[in-house]
Symmetry: C2
Subunit: 176 residues, 2 copies
C-alpha cells in the first residue's frame, strides 16, 4: 500500500514520451472532450456477470428510490414478504429460503421488530427457535410496500421492455 503513497505527481518527468499508439484505434480521447462512451469494452461485452452486475445495481437503486418514502430496502422487503406468506417460520428457515446468512438475519429482524413490523414469538415446539410473524402494523405496511414494489417493477419493464422483463424472470426462475 505504501507503494506509491502520496502521488508523486511531478517526480516522473520522464520525457519517455507516450504518444498513444495510433494503431490501437479504439482509444484516443484522454480528456473527456465530448463522447466518453466510445471506450471499447472488448471482452467485457459478452460477459454475463458484468451485465448482470450493472443491471443489479440499477434495479436496486430504483427499488430503494421508489421505496424511499417508506424506508424499506430490498432485503427487508423480501423478508417481510416471505414471513407474510409463511407466518410462523423460524429464522433459519427464512435465512435458508432467502439465501441470507442467519447471522445477518438477526440484525435485519432487529430493525424490523423495532419498527413493529415483525414479531419474534417463542416457538411452541422448539424452545431454541422463534416463530416469525407480521404484526398488524406490519401487514398493512407490507400491503403498501407491495404497491410501491409493483411500481418499481413497472420501472423495470419500462427500462428493458415488458416482454424482456418476463423473459428475464423466466430465465432466472431457477434462482428464486
Amino acid at each position: 500500500m505504501a507503494s506509491q503513497q502520496k502521488t508523486p505527481r511531478k517526480a516522473a518527468g520522464t520525457g519517455a514520451a507516450i504518444r498513444r499508439s495510433p494503431a490501437r484505434a479504439a482509444n484516443g480521447r484522454a480528456r473527456g472532450g465530448d463522447a466518453n462512451d466510445d471506450i471499447g469494452l472488448d471482452a467485457l461485452v459478452g460477459h454475463a456477470g458484468y451485465a448482470v452486475r450493472r443491471f443489479q445495481l440499477w434495479i436496486f437503486q430504483d427499488f430503494i428510490k421508489t421505496l424511499a418514502a417508506v424506508d424499506i430496502r430490498p432485503t427487508q422487503y423480501s423478508i417481510m414478504t416471505v414471513i407474510g406468506a409463511n407466518p410462523g417460520l423460524s429464522q433459519m428457515a427464512v435465512a435458508k429460503r432467502l439465501g441470507i446468512e442467519r447471522a445477518r438475519l438477526v440484525h435485519l429482524l432487529d430493525s424490523l421488530e423495532e419498527r413493529d413490523f415483525v414479531n419474534r414469538v417463542p416457538s411452541a415446539t422448539d424452545r431454541r427457535s422463534h416463530a416469525l410473524h407480521l404484526t398488524a402494523r406490519g401487514k398493512t405496511a407490507l400491503a403498501q410496500f407491495k404497491r410501491l414494489a409493483a411500481e418499481h417493477e413497472r420501472h423495470v419493464a419500462e427500462k428493458i421492455g415488458k416482454d424482456n422483463r418476463e423473459r428475464l424472470l423466466q430465465i432466472l426462475a431457477g434462482f428464486t
Copy 2:
C-alpha cells in the same frame, strides 16, 4: 438493538399451551425434516430484482472460484480488460466506464500495480491524471484470465442454457 438482547428464552414459560395450529397449512415444517423448499415466496416471485440478486450472487461466486488460481476478482478483471482494450485511459475514464467510484478505483489500481499488472504513467497532456497501461506481465496475465473467464462463461451457459445466456446478454446489453 437493545430491544430483545440476550434472548430471554426461558422467560416465557407460558404454559399457555400452543399445539401448533394444524390449520395453518402452508407452513408447518419448523424442523427441517425433509423438503424445506416448499416455502412460498408469494410476491417475491415475479420480482426481477430478487431473481437478479440471487443470480448475480451465483455468477460472481463461480467467477471467483474459477479464477481463484490466479486470484482475480470480477472487478479487477473488468478493469484490466478495459485498460487492455484502451491503453492510456485516465482513472476517471475507467471509473466512469465501469460504473466504479473513482475513490474505489484508487485501491483497486493500487493492488493491481503492486502485482505489476498495471502501470500509472503520468499523463503528458494533463498533469493531474494518470495514463493507465498494462505492463508486459499484465498483458500475458490478462490473456490467461480471459481463458479462465471464458471457462466461467461456459459454466453460466451450462447453468441457464446456452441460448438463454445469449438472450440474457441481449436483454441487458443496454447496461454494459
